[in-house]
Symmetry: C2
Subunit: 428 residues, 2 copies
Amino acid sequence: MKMGFNKRNKQNEHYRVVILGAGFGGLWATKTLVHYPVEICLLDQNNYHTFFPLLYQVAAAELEPEDIAYPVRSIIRKFPNVHFLLAKVNKIDLKAQIIETDICMISYDFLILSMGSITHFFSIKGYEYVYPLKTLEQGINLRNQILTCFERALYEPDEELQKSLLTFVIVGGGSTGVEFAGTLAELVYGRMKKDYRNLDIKKVKLILLEAGERLLPNLPDRLGNYALSRLNKIEVEVRFNSKVSEVRPDELKLIDGSIIQTYTVAWTAGVRGEPELKNWGLPTNSNGRVTVLNTLQVPGYPNVYAVGDLAYLEEDGHPLPMVAPVAIQQGVATGKNIALQISNEPPQPFHYKDRGTMVVIGRNAAVVYLFNRLYFTGFLAWIIWLAAHLFSLIGFRNRFLVLINWAWDYIYYERVVRLILPTKSSSL
Amino acid sequence: MKMGFNKRNKQNEHYRVVILGAGFGGLWATKTLVHYPVEICLLDQNNYHTFFPLLYQVAAAELEPEDIAYPVRSIIRKFPNVHFLLAKVNKIDLKAQIIETDICMISYDFLILSMGSITHFFSIKGYEYVYPLKTLEQGINLRNQILTCFERALYEPDEELQKSLLTFVIVGGGSTGVEFAGTLAELVYGRMKKDYRNLDIKKVKLILLEAGERLLPNLPDRLGNYALSRLNKIEVEVRFNSKVSEVRPDELKLIDGSIIQTYTVAWTAGVRGEPELKNWGLPTNSNGRVTVLNTLQVPGYPNVYAVGDLAYLEEDGHPLPMVAPVAIQQGVATGKNIALQISNEPPQPFHYKDRGTMVVIGRNAAVVYLFNRLYFTGFLAWIIWLAAHLFSLIGFRNRFLVLINWAWDYIYYERVVRLILPTKSSSL
């Protein structure tokens, strides 16, 4: 194994902080730490940061992949003490304080684990036929599948097969499932209806399966009910108490034995921690996430932190949600705590400032829940959602292009991004 | 085999025209024929039209793939007599007048062959290690390879290996090769220099190999010389009389025995017709292109036409060039000729109106050759080139986004599109 990053620069005695993952947590930790006398090595297996909250819009052909991805090197180039490494982590050796990657080994003084979560398929059979929605690649795959199903259905003489091709199932009634269902309904009954004028659009079926009794279980009842009535209005069939037991290429089986004929099962039902974490000696909970102290340190390793989806932390007896604001705030807090440790001061406990939750449901409608007391639904909520997301996008140009895409869409009721994108690639 | 498109509508006795390929030739033939009483079936293996003249800019990370691709269904939706079929052609049966695709069979009254050309590797060994530049997918692959080489080189301790990773070879001194070399030089010495500040950018080597004695062999000497001096100025090494004999993953061998250590060989050296054409009974020349009559009809098959790169036709003793304007004019001419045949009138011979040739060489510089007599070089030529290409892009939104990308690039001297795009995909 080549030793790439492990030669410490003897001229400066700066501590080296290695940050695994350039998601929200890792990036905000980086941005916090650049102002301290440390050498930062930021590692990711992609050369871009993905704005996950809008990934479902790529899957629904509303945004282009590039609209929600931003090159990491553009973000860090202002900071001379940050180095980016495009690599995959093979192993973390907590005792030796060394990260083994597919490129080289890296030693660290401080480590921040911010690799996020992976899709949790629970115990369903045939999960390889499911379309998860966790990475940009998966977003593109799901979009390609949906568009290809329409192309195939148009010339399919067998009525039953045509119906299967036009049945799209979304598993999970949380915010991603609800948002994706809403956007998909718009794509289908808006643009696709015009593009496939020889296809009876009434044959399309959008089904949202939720294992529990209501939508948006983390939000007040009123908002879940609004989401349900809104989805029903735009022709999305919502089924409660529906747990998937098996997926096959052309059908989905529920635990109650009923079967849905479909070629497309989008999965937004669950996430978990990377199973390797446990093998590397990290303390994990039953969901594979790393349990952390309230300082976000990993128990037993005061120089190792975990943030974002990957970290499991309870506050007031409830686990913190796996959302971008938690990751961002934890990234900042971890950066500050490492700075404190370098100055020989004790790290401080983390407290989450919940500024609210927003879920958009198709054109002009959203639910917004702010400061645990304010509710908004409908168009006003949609405007708040739009503004909040636009301002969160990294980089002016991305914001601008996304706004153009949305404005175009809004004015012309048109999806302009309906390319089935090329996919095969080379790798070094 | 299912019969999808072959049931003729008995209510109207319109002729069915099948058009294979939604490139420039196929699309302009479609646009011409929509005004006549025909049923048009337009077939392509992608659901988008690619603006090939700017493909090299996707490969050089200057434009996003979506900037040069436009959904075919958006283009044809105004025309009720056009049907689009996303499919691959397996076989053409000229006697039975039936096209066999991977989806269904289609019978035709008139057929237009407009599938374009494929890369010609001549007789080099190891062509599977070469990066061709003919499809959107290949453009993305080449870009991913270039960006990945920089990422790898940054942490490569072996000096020789690092040099190989940073050597980029472009084969072919025609317009695509010259344009790609110019744009790549800008990417490297502009944006990449800033992004990889710990990398000595002087280690990067850009080499353009031309088998002949000069660049842009189809244009007057003066313009080829200008291109050469311009490329030399922006650090591109041009080697003449250089024929490739073999490519391996990490090196390239020339016929004179010399070797260039490189991981990236971009291939713009040659194109040819799809070999299957000959097997299907079409008359082809030594380059695999279909030889056509001056009416663009295929000899022996008065209801079969060939246009664009796929068609071989000489005018005044010279073969017509394989460029977009020829394909567009031939598409229009073919549409009109089929309309004439339907009215029992004889098809007319095709004459190419050569409005000029333009080649851009990096920032602010181009050569333009108009009406076989006017020359422009430098900034004025670049402005003419920019305007001409923008106005040729299909769809206002694409034009607008490309303009934003270019303007941003021009003002900030910045490449914002440097994503190593996700690639693996599902297929139905």
